[in-house]
């Protein structure tokens, strides 16, 4: 049988159909849709913070002693904190911190992990051995623990928290990348390229990399929720964001002293973290369901 190549329109239509099926399957589960919407709202909140926040200037260090610890009510939907600042506004600005921190962390971790993982998976040898040992050590401990240890030594700040979380997260991505590379490099099309003399570097870039990116990016987007949680935990402990940054975990930390008198101070920022992480988890679950080979039609 002659190999038939489909005309361009057919190929495009097949790809579009694939995309359409993908989204159909993805939103088959309504919760995933809810998650996507929430993330969209969150992103908008972060981008449009100055316009959405009722008191846009209260992010920075000003103090309003006469408005201290007001319960939720008109003018202050979520109440005020111990410095008299509007909690809702601070939460809205906090979205900027959380989203940017999580995206930056994940991107940097991938940038570090992918070259290492690809090299180790492709060439093997001592690089592979070393990488396996190192990631083994890192992966024996929960990421939060590693982050705490790193920030204890680097000093508490948001930047150091990002560095710490990157250090905690990259080993996992390296392992995933390495495993993917090892699976792909045995495939016939890679071997064929080698046979015709394509250089290893070109193979890695043009053939292996595109094929491993998809699962990695999907894994990374599923991790965004976890990163936000870790960053908030670090800030709560005092090793991440520092006052007066409106990071959600930090706000909860500041609220501890007034826990019994001003429940709104701790309740709302924590609730925001919960909803944010939940949204990412819901989307992650939806993605996983779609990609699961079990959901094949026939």
């Amino acid at each position: 049988m002659k190999a038939q190549s489909l005309p361009l329109q057919h190929r495009l239509k097949r790809n579009l159909d694939g995309v359409r099926v993908f989204f159909r399957l993805l939103f088959h589960n309504r919760l995933t849709g809810v998650g996507v919407v929430m993330i969209g709202l969150l992103t908008m909140m972060a981008i449009l913070a100055p316009y959405l926040a009722p008191y846009p200037t209260q992010g920075a260090g000003k103090v309003f002693p006469e408005a201290r610890l007001l319960p939720p009510g008109p003018g202050h939907l979520f109440g005020t904190d111990d410095m008299g600042r509007d909690i809702l506004s601070r939460i809205i600005y906090g979205a900027r911190i959380s989203l940017s921190v999580s995206v930056i962390t994940v991107v940097v971790a991938l940038l570090i992990a992918i070259p290492l993982g690809v090299w180790a998976g492709y060439y093997g040898g001592w690089v592979d051995e070393v990488l396996m040992r190192v990631t083994d050590i890192f992966l024996s401990f929960p990421p939060l623990l590693i982050a705490i240890v790193v920030t204890s030594f680097l000093g508490p700040s948001l930047q150091n928290a990002v560095i710490a979380i990157v250090i905690a997260w990259w080993p996992w991505y390296s392992r995933v990348a390495r495993a993917q590379v090892m699976a792909i490099k045995e495939r016939p099309f890679v071997k064929a390229s080698k046979c015709i003399g394509t250089s290893n570097l070109v193979i890695m870039f043009s053939q292996i990399l595109p094929n491993i990116l998809a699962p990695l990016i999907i894994q990374a987007s599923m991790d965004l929720g976890g990163v936000i949680m870790t960053a908030a935990s670090l800030s709560f402990i005092g090793l991440g964001a520092q006052p007066p940054q409106p990071e959600w975990g930090l706000i909860v930390a500041s609220s501890r002293m007034y826990l019994l008198n001003a429940w709104w101070y701790s309740a709302f920022p924590g609730l925001t973290i919960l909803i944010t992480v939940l949204s990412f988890n819901l989307v992650g679950d939806g993605l996983r369901e779609v990609l699961d080979p079990r959901t094949k039609v026939r």
Partner: protein
């Protein structure tokens, strides 16, 4: 072999709920299996053979459901009895099945002994441990496993494909079932091992007077063990008859193509015939004869209505308007 009908399938229609819509999987007008007889069901991948087996066993996946029809085993409609009764009284005791992939069909974290004894105990809860063990060894001997005492303590992955398949057969039969469905039971085995397993199945059938259905995509294989052959195409039984009748004198266009496309030394030098077109999409099955698009002899009548079974001989039926007499 008597002419008493043990299993009778009538007007069976099975569908599946998929993300893309409702798919029509099976549409079997009539299928009877007589006592002591093996009926071979032959067809391509995707024709619905496994679904047929699973429907009879009532082990369908969650999104597959029966819309119409009856399956009568020993006088009772299997589709109507409650699920619990199906599990405790029918499966294992009257009806049983062996599967295609012996490695995948044996639970990897249990030894052979735990697996076989587990099945024996379920149907004979009052037997002593020794009696259960003895029966397990007895079953293993019955399927011609050499050195059962040693094999019984091994794990499935430590055994060869042929041995695993025999253990599956032992497990299937150890509870007394006399109707056996083999779903492509020898597909994953080497040819020589295949022959051994088939021999075991034949011997057991004769010794225990088993009736059954032998499913395969290999018509020659099915013909050696089956008395009658049924050809399944896109979920429909398009032809059924004695094995040699079908091989010698196939009347349905599809059966002819199917048989003609099998390589053999006599066809050397010539390209094998292939029917043009593709199998119908289960989501959008056309009216009328499902093979009409691809058949050289189809008429408008064929495209309009599903052809009923036409009698070629008292034992040979074909679902075709032309009666299959386009020689």
């Amino acid at each position: 072999m008597s002419s008493e009908v043990v299993l009778s399938i009538a007007d069976l229609q099975v569908r599946a709920r998929t993300v893309m819509g409702i798919a029509n999987l099976l549409n079997v007008a009539r299928l009877d299996v007589h006592s002591g007889e093996t009926v071979g069901i032959v067809g391509e991948s995707g024709a619905g053979k496994s679904i047929l087996a699973q429907t009879i066993m009532r082990l369908l996946p969650g999104n597959v459901f029966v819309t119409r029809g009856t399956i009568t085993l020993n006088g009772r409609d299997l589709l109507k009895i409650p699920a619990g009764e199906m599990a405790s009284r029918v499966r294992g005791k009257q009806l049983t099945m062996i599967f295609q992939d012996p490695m995948a069909s044996l639970n990897p974290v249990f030894t052979v002994r735990e697996l076989i004894e587990g099945v024996i105990r379920v149907h004979n809860p009052r037997l002593s441990n020794k009696a259960v063990f003895d029966r397990a060894i007895e079953m293993m001997k019955m399927v011609r496993l050499s050195d059962p005492e040693m094999t019984i303590n091994k794990y499935p992955h430590e055994l060869s494909g042929g041995m695993r398949q025999r253990i599956l057969i032992a497990m299937a039969l150890c509870s007394g079932a006399r109707f056996l469905i083999s779903d492509e039971a020898t597909r994953n085995l080497d040819v020589t091992i295949q022959a051994g397993v088939l021999r075991v199945l034949e011997d057991l059938r004769n010794e225990l007077d088993l009736s059954g259905i032998f499913i395969s995509n290999n018509v020659a294989l099915a013909a050696t063990i089956s008395r009658r052959l049924g050809i399944l195409y896109a979920g429909e039984l398009v032809e059924i008859g004695m094995a040699d009748e079908i091989i010698r004198d196939a009347r349905h266009s599809y059966t002819r193509y199917f048989l003609a496309s099998l390589p053999s030394p006599s066809k050397k030098g010539r390209p094998l015939p292939i029917a043009s077109g593709r199998n119908p999409d289960p989501l959008h099955k056309p009216k009328g004869c499902l093979f009409a698009q691809r058949c050289d002899h189809c008429t408008d009548e064929c495209r309009a209505e599903t052809p009923p079974l036409h009698e070629v001989s008292p034992t040979h039926f074909v679902a075709c308007y032309r009666g299959g007499d386009m020689a």
